[in-house]
């Protein structure tokens, strides 16, 4: 910033103009980010450490010192990690299938991936409750087929939560991986094989490293979305699986404890930032 603001005394006029243009292009988004994102975050941080008596860390002590709230943090992490892991395991082969598909098949596959993004998260979460509840489609079908006699409890279990979350966040994992795989030159695998690498060795030494940027982007997206998900746990599992997101909502809406809600928000943000920073570090080119 300072570098752009200070005129470089020795640089040619053309370079100055280029730099000026760059600043001009960045400025609007910078103002928006600073105004509507960074500023509220600073306020949030302030609310979480200041109360009527001045500076306090009571909210953080409560959050990080109470077994219940440590459980809440663990629930959020668990939701984020499980969703990300399962979404990755499904998405990686799917991205290759998508990249290999040709013609109409590819269009259909891409459409099935993009169309759900147009539907609201609430609609999709409700759809899962309709499918999974005890008089839902899955139970009715299984009973009609005589496979089970009594409905299985599916809704309001952790399995339902993870299945729903994976389903809803899946496109955010597939798309970045697909974008990388689609551009992957098939000659790399051929070169590896002629150099003596078996298909398995080729996968781990060439394909996986070359698609790593897509994996990291997908992991960062899906983790930050699922760790902070609110609608999905609320509708698919409810009270018995409190997460940071539902705790924040409760603190603001029911308990009227904005300080505590802000502290929970800061912790959630810290977790998400840690994961994104880790991803950025991993995706940096190896030496």
């Amino acid at each position: 910033m300072t570098e752009a603001a200070l005129p470089a005394p020795v640089s040619a006029p053309a370079v100055d103009r280029e730099r000026l243009a760059a600043v001009g292009f960045v400025l609007p988004s910078f103002v928006i980010i600073a105004g509507v994102f960074a500023l509220p975050l600073v306020l949030l941080l302030g609310v979480s450490i200041v109360d009527a008596n001045g500076l306090t860390f009571a909210h953080y002590k409560r959050l990080l010192g109470t077994p219940y709230y440590l459980g809440v943090i663990w629930n959020s992490l668990r939701l984020g990690l499980l969703t990300t892991l399962i979404a990755f395991l499904i998405s990686y082969p799917a991205a290759f299938a998508l990249a290999r598909a040709r013609g109409p098949l590819r269009s259909v596959l891409l459409a099935t991936l993009f169309l759900p993004l147009a539907a609201s998260v609430i609609v999709k979460a409700f759809a899962w409750t309709i499918l999974l509840r005890s008089d839902g489609i899955v139970n009715e079908t299984l009973m009609a087929l005589g496979i089970i006699e009594d409905p299985i409890r599916m809704i309001f279990t952790e399995t339902a939560l993870i299945v729903g979350a994976v389903n809803i966040f899946l496109p955010f994992m597939i798309l970045p991986i697909y974008a990388i795989v689609a551009q992957l030159d098939p000659r790399y695998a051929e070169a590896a094989s002629t150099l003596g690498a078996s298909p398995v060795v080729t996968f781990f030494r060439v394909i996986l490293p070359l698609t790593l940027p897509g994996i990291i982007a997908g992991v960062a997206l899906v983790f930050s979305l699922s760790v902070s998900a609110y609608v999905v746990p609320t509708l698919l599992i409810g009270e018995k699986y409190p997460t940071l997101a539902t705790t924040i909502a409760k603190a603001y809406l029911l308990a009227r404890e904005p300080g505590f809600g802000a502290a929970a928000g800061v912790v959630l943000l810290a977790i998400a930032i840690a994961i994104v920073a880790l991803s950025a570090r991993l995706s940096r080119e190896p030496k």
Binding site: D185, R187, Y188, E190, A191, A192, S193, T194, L195, G196, A197, S198, P199, V201, T202, R205, V206, P209, L210, L212, E285, P286
Partner: protein, 359 residues
């Protein structure tokens, strides 16, 4: 294994993609240490043949043997071939040294031996000082050398080059042709080049296989290929020529007399009287003026192109036919545009090819 015994044998290899026959019963035998070029236009099957040898394409019929081993059904990673791709396909996530070491690492070679082999391979292509560089930091010519070092490092039984020089600019390409040939001869490599560039084929190879429509039209040393083309296609694809259509009047003793629109010409060849043929000669065989028993034709000079040591003269011989002569300064006066001249050339250097082969 002796120097002249067959090292790579391709026998009756065919490949079809749907209705298209890409390789049509290809037979090819290459000796140890030989440098062979597959030369032909795009779509002639040369790259498919190379990929079949590398194991990247499974032929429908036929066999491939390498170093005394039937490798027809051996997957590429067990074939011990080295491939230099047109796009180089260098691994962008590895350094120069990492790329060269790749084939040795997957073979489970000891770390110290790998280091020695990598150093040697990079020294061979004069890139030892760039071992730690990233691939993206290299020029096209340097990448080409890394790809070569990577393929050579594993000491393959055969090196395969798929249009490997075509991405370089002309001057660099010509330098690399000479250097690469010397390098391959030094390490006694057996190599196959695929190219559509006749100069590259003639410069690089001990023998050239001219390919057309999935077949090898002629497999010969560069000199023989030029002086004794086996088909009209081979004649057209390598070097320049004068070509005149005509009909065989009389035949015998391996010679034919042909009636053409520029007069009666004699040529080498065995045809029945009445056959439609193309009579052809290389431009350096054509001389100014009459020569005893030789073929000759007259016309008006249409163009004169000075090319340093030689001058190309094109003559309009009337009736839509033209003659192409390459005259050197020693032949005396070079004719000027619109001059009426007569050109003659020896019967022994005149070929006849069947007309229908031109399709």
């Amino acid at each position: 294994m002796s120097e002249s015994s067959p090292h790579l044998v391709v026998r009756g290899v065919s490949k079809r993609y749907g209705p298209t026959t890409v390789l049509d019963h290809i037979d090819l035998t290459i000796r140890r240490g030989e440098l062979v070029t597959l030369l032909g236009p795009s779509g002639c099957g040369k790259t498919t043949l190379l990929r079949a040898i590398a194991g990247l394409v499974q032929p429908d019929t036929g066999k491939v043997e390498l170093a005394g081993r039937d490798i027809t059904n051996v997957p590429p990673h067990k074939r011990n071939v080295g491939v230099v791709f047109q796009s180089y396909a260098l691994f962008p996530h590895l350094t120069v040294a990492g790329n060269v070491a790749f084939g040795l690492k997957v073979r489970g070679m000891a770390r110290r031996e790998i280091d020695i082999a990598v150093e040697r391979a990079l020294a061979l292509v004069k890139l030892g000082h760039l071992a730690g560089r990233r691939i993206s930091a290299l020029s096209g010519g340097q990448q080409q050398r890394v790809a070569l070092a990577r393929a050579i490092a594993v000491e393959p039984d055969v090196l395969l080059f798929d249009e490997a020089l075509s991405a370089l600019d002309r001057k660099l390409r010509e330098e690399m042709q000479v250097e690469l040939r010397r390098l391959l001869q030094d390490v006694k490599a057996t190599a196959i080049f695929v190219t559509h560039d006749q100069d590259e084929a003639l410069t690089m190879s001990d023998r050239v296989a001219v390919m057309n429509k999935g077949r090898i039209e002629q497999l010969a040393e560069p000199r023989e290929l030029y002086l004794r083309p086996a088909s009209l296609f081979a004649l057209n694809f390598v070097g320049l020529s004068t070509r005149i259509a005509g009909t065989v009047l009389a035949a015998g003793n391996g010679k034919v007399d042909v009636e053409t629109r520029v007069g009666r010409l004699s040529a080498l060849g065995n045809f029945q009287a009445g056959s439609p043929v193309i009579v052809a000669a290389r431009p350096e065989q054509l001389r100014l003026g009459e020569q005893g028993e030789a073929n000759s034709a007259a016309g008006r000079v249409r163009s004169v192109v000075f090319q340093g040591s030689r001058t190309l003269v094109e003559v309009d011989a009337g009736a839509g036919e033209s003659l192409l002569a390459e005259l050197s300064g020693r032949d005396g006066a070079i004719p000027r545009l619109h001059d009426e001249i007569r050109l003659s050339w020896p019967v022994a250097e005149t070929f006849a090819f069947p007309m229908e082969a031109q399709a």
